[in-house]
């Protein structure tokens, strides 16, 4: 099982949990299975084309998946996946 960190704005879909355990061998499988376990979440992570939304970074441990092999990045037991929105703010 892989520990997945859920960002604050998506926690309403995980009953408020900041971390969930999900099975999967790649990042893509994790997001699919996360979407099955918590309906609505996959659509918030991917855009209409199935790409990670422009304001979201996905990390495996401390590395952004863009610098690994993207959604195909393989995972092993003990890895942690973090879904993290990039910095925002306002006046």
């Amino acid at each position: 099982m892989i520990k997945v960190r859920i960002p604050t704005p998506l926690r309403p879909m995980t009953e408020g949990k900041s971390e969930v355990e999900i099975a999967g061998n790649t990042v893509s499988e994790i997001i699919d299975n996360l979407g099955s376990a918590h309906p609505g979440i996959k659509e918030r992570v991917y855009d209409e084309k199935g790409e990670v939304r422009r304001f979201i970074n996905i990390y495996v441990n401390e590395e952004d998946i863009r610098f690994l092999t993207g959604k195909d990045t393989p995972l092993k037991d003990g890895d942690e996946v973090s879904i993290i929105p990039a910095i925002a703010g306002g006046a």
């Binding site: 960190r5 960002p7 604050t8 704005p9 900041s18 659509e43 918030r44 990670v52 939304r53 422009r54 304001f55 979201i56 970074n57 990390y59 401390e62 952004d64 863009r66 610098f67 942690e80 973090s82 993290i84 929105p85 990039a86 910095i87 925002a88 703010g89 306002g90 006046a91």
Partner: protein
């Protein structure tokens, strides 16, 4: 105390002016209490869908929903995640740290808003896991357009504390 080369201060103010009335945003690298470089990051707020906007807190969300996508960027920013990741990678390759974030307030003072504080705390909840140092939050205000001001803050437990800026030659 935060030391910033004057060229970087000039660069951040120029960035704010170029994008006004939209807010600009960027990342600062450095070590400990000294900024080494600034990275301009695209404010993608106007490109966010209605659903994406729910990443903002309630009050800001209500304000954003009243505006056209274009006008939304006048009162808020969202960094492009890919550009932010590229900048972080560049910072790491130079042996520096991600030391801070900056953005502009086009019509208001250089003080963190409630939205800035909420999102700074959101970042704080991930920061340790990603082994990043505590960031400085810088705001460039164009409220008085002939006299732009820039201030730096630490934000701890939702309380901003101003950090004096020391300008390096």
């Amino acid at each position: 105390m935060l030391a910033i080369p004057s060229s970087i201060i000039t660069n951040m103010i120029a960035h704010a002016r170029e994008l006004a009335p939209h807010e600009c945003c960027g990342i600062l690298s450095g070590t400990e209490h000294t900024i080494a470089d600034a990275y301009r990051i695209t404010n993608i707020l106007a490109a966010l869908s209605e659903q994406d906007l729910t990443r903002f807190d309630g009050a800001k969300l209500t304000d954003l929903q009243r505006l056209s996508p274009e006008e939304r960027a006048d009162i808020a920013f969202q960094m492009d995640a890919r550009e932010m990741a590229m900048a972080q990678r560049d910072i790491r390759s130079k042996g520096l740290d991600l030391l801070g974030f900056y953005h502009s307030h086009t019509f208001s003072p250089a003080r963190p808003s409630q939205t800035d504080i909420t999102i700074a705390m959101e970042f704080e909840s991930y920061r340790a896991k990603l082994h990043l140092p505590e960031p400085f939050h810088l705001i460039v205000s164009l409220e008085h357009s002939d006299q732009p001001s820039i201030r730096a803050y630490r934000i701890r437990e939702s309380q901003p504390t101003e950090v004096p800026i020391h300008t390096l030659p």
